[in-house]
């Protein structure tokens, strides 16, 4: 499968073990540029300069969780229209509906396979691009 246009991913995850694993997976297998950080505050410091094409956010984080982080990031011009994917250990239908309303493309449920994670993200992102192109063309 062609690893097309998606290049820059801003990834927010407070668990250092998972953060390292996911970053390594996305860089090595997906060939993505990844800016990884552990909090909403750190993401705000990165987002303007990094100019991400995708936001990848853990849901359960202390202080400011994934949904709240997305809301804060979306207030920045550099991330206002950037698609987002959540990662979480559990999601029910109610959560999913709420995330969809926030514009979240999809949710990746833990445990995930680090060998296929990049492909999964690429697939979700391309699916969204296809829908966007259909609507614009």
């Amino acid at each position: 499968m062609k690893q097309a246009a998606l290049s820059r991913i801003l990834y927010v995850e407070d668990d250092p073990d998972i953060r390292e694993l996911v970053t390594m997976s996305l860089q090595a297998l997906g060939r993505f540029q990844v800016a990884a950080c552990d909090s909403c505050a750190a993401a705000l410091e990165l987002v303007d300069e990094f100019s991400p094409e995708l936001l990848l956010l853990d849901v359960m984080m202390p202080d400011i969780d994934g949904p709240a982080t997305l809301k804060v990031l979306r207030e920045r011009v550099s991330a206002a229209a950037v698609p987002a994917i959540f990662i979480t250990a559990k999601v029910d239908a109610g959560d999913m509906a709420r995330y969809r309303e926030m514009g979240v493309l999809d949710v990746i449920v833990k445990p995930f396979d680090p060998m296929t994670l990049s492909g999964q993200i690429q697939h979700i992102w391309q699916r969204d691009r296809s829908v966007a192109n259909d609507h614009s063309g």
Binding site: D14, D15, D17, I18, E20, L21, M24, S25, A28, L29, M60, P62, A89, K110, P111, F112, P114, M115
Partner: protein
């Protein structure tokens, strides 16, 4: 031929080994935090931090292939969740369940670590 996948698998193995190597210590910290909370402090902040770390361990354990640790963390997370709503008054039966769940988590962490050591030793002998 060395491929990206080969290199990645080696790095994955390194990360997994590092995760397992620090499991007993990580769970000991959780155990100590729980003991502190139960014995004296009853600080909501400590309790929330403990609950969050247990939640993290549930996710990271399963992602790194330590299903026993993940399951034990899941049970402990459930036991702790009972307390969150009313942490100042804790029934003895709930405390016993929490302490039992913590013992189970420590046991799983130690077992996983020992199995990892045995795997390394067996690998070194071949």
């Amino acid at each position: 031929m060395i491929t990206v996948d080969n290199e990645f698998e080696r790095e994955l193995a390194r990360l997994s080994a590092a995760f397992v190597a620090q499991l007993p210590q990580q769970v000991q910290v959780l155990n100590d935090d729980l003991a502190t909370w139960l014995s004296a402090s009853r600080e909501a902040e400590l309790f929330d931090r403990l609950s969050h770390k247990v939640h993290q361990l549930k996710g990271s354990g399963s992602t790194f292939g330590c299903s026993g640790v993940s399951e034990a963390a899941r049970v402990l997370e459930q036991r702790l969740a009972v307390l969150q709503a009313d942490a100042t008054s804790v029934a003895a039966s709930d405390l016993e369940k929490i302490e039992a769940a913590m013992r189970a988590l420590r046991g799983e962490a130690d077992r996983t670590y020992r199995e990892s050591l045995r795997g390394h030793q067996a690998g070194a002998q071949t």
